[in-house]
Amino acid sequence: MFTFNIEKANNEANFSLSINWDLIIIGGGPAGLNASLYAKRKGLEVGIITDEIGGQLHNTTEVDNYLGFKKIEGKDLSEQFLNHINNLNVPILKNIRVKEIKHLNPDFEIFLSNGKIIKSKTILIATGGSPRKLEVDGEETFKNTGVSYCTTCDAPFFKDKHVIVAGGGNSAVEAILDLVPWASKITLVHRSLWRADQILLDKIKNLEKVTILLNTEIKNIYGDNKMQGLTVYSKEKNDLYDIKADGIFIEIGTIPNSSLVMNLVEVNDRNEIIVDKNQMTSVEGIFAAGDVTIQPDKQIIISAAEGAKAALAATKYLNKYYKETE
């Protein structure tokens, strides 16, 4: 039987292009949504511009470490967040990307992918992360013809096939669990030792179709018109060998989506946005929260909390620099 994952209608019609917003939040994941909740409650004119609601929540099937939810699907948690925001009528522009931000001192101009331009007094960058690449030969060549970064999207293509999962953290173990109903054989390849939570590792330890290769590095991905396998190097056996496989899901963490503001705010050597204890970036009036920042633990609850901190800090900033001078 089919299910229907309807995204709640948002308040796009309320999204004014003519006002000078107090806070524009770029990104609709946990950080952006929670920031909008806190900002709206403070009475700010706040709006969200996002490509998709939920962000990386949609790349995970099951979430079981968000306080208050023993076990919930990523998309359902995203829906719960959105329901909460919709109660407060936060205007959201969806399926829109921000192309450029211009600093007018003190306000900002935001250039959108639909060609429109809006103005805001403060900005929150909550653009999250994208899947980190292995950066081995063949990865680009076989992208979407074997190489994938989204198990929830692409697992059905690997029915009765042998697939590799690259990585050793929680998302790699979750990818295995997503693939179990589809693949005939799953091999996890990770260059060092486990980083995943024990509670997740317990879930895969007795699965017959799963093989684990730790301390094993992926050297390349090969094939002809589609992927056929990969070459790996076992550090323990000092052995270079091929593994035949139909697909590979790469789950080795994320890279920050900071390119929009790379030339505007300071970033660290991993391109993560540097923020202070109030989530303020090196540019006054621009805040950042969630996986795009230097915060090392990329967790849903931490992103949401950073969003709240940023909204409260933006409120104080607005009170100080705008209300006092008005």
Binding site: F4, C153, F158
Partner: protein, 214 residues
């Protein structure tokens, strides 16, 4: 027979469709045999059309109504088009059932086709209108893909704005062999005029850049 959409989903869809402007119609092509999801797709379109008076639903048989199928370029079942208030085909097609996450691209196509302004900037609309060569877009999706509806909606909106552009959502599990021909093992995969490919949910500009390079 039990309905496909439960009461809660029906209420959500009814609410969503209340934003429709003019009338639209669905023309669905099914087959009597060898079509696993024809029944459910018919049920979905029937149930949705019953939620708003502005929607008309017509069910055709791919093997019998061959002239109409040819008119819309339909060769597979289930496959359907959405026509505007003048009964005109505007290049918006769905092959396979738009369930799961894809219900969102379906509902937004209904609203868009009814004449609701989708808020593109004049400059973008001008660029879209300048496309003179025939463009065929296929967006391969799975129903569990959260990034796919955005890609489908963009493609469908392009088609609605320029009669040289035709756009089709293809549900890759229903049409597995067809998807295999295009080497699809990751979605959304966008195939333009059989020769150019875009991967992932691409912004409008990426589509336009590709069209202008053709």
């Amino acid at each position: 027979m039990e309905k496909l959409l439960n009461q809660e989903i029906q209420d959500q869809i009814r609410d969503f469709l209340s934003h429709m402007d003019k009338e639209i119609s669905f023309v669905l092509f099914t087959k009597k045999t060898g079509c696993e999801t024809c029944t459910q797709t018919r049920m979905l379109l029937e149930e949705i059309s019953s939620l708003n008076d502005k929607i008309t639903f017509v069910n055709k048989d791919l093997d019998i109504d061959t002239a109409e199928a040819k008119e819309f370029g339909i060769t597979m079942a289930p496959s359907f088009v959405i026509l505007d208030s003048n009964g005109k085909y505007r290049g918006v097609k769905f092959s396979g059932i738009p369930a799961g996450h894809e219900i969102n691209s379906f509902l937004s196509a209904v609203i868009d086709m009814s004449g609701v302004n989708f808020g593109f900037d004049e400059k973008i609309i001008e660029r879209i209108k300048k496309i003179k060569k025939p463009i065929n877009i296929k967006v391969f999706v799975t129903l569990s893909c959260p990034h796919c509806p955005g890609a489908v909606s963009n493609a469908h909106r392009l088609a609605m704005l320029n009669e040289n552009i035709e756009s089709e959502m293809v549900e890759a599990q229903t049409f597995f062999e067809y998807a295999s021909k295009y080497n699809v093992s990751g979605v959304p995969k966008i195939v333009i005029n059989e020769t150019h490919e875009l991967l992932g949910n691409q912004p409008l500009e990426e589509y336009l850049n590709t069209f202008e390079r053709l």
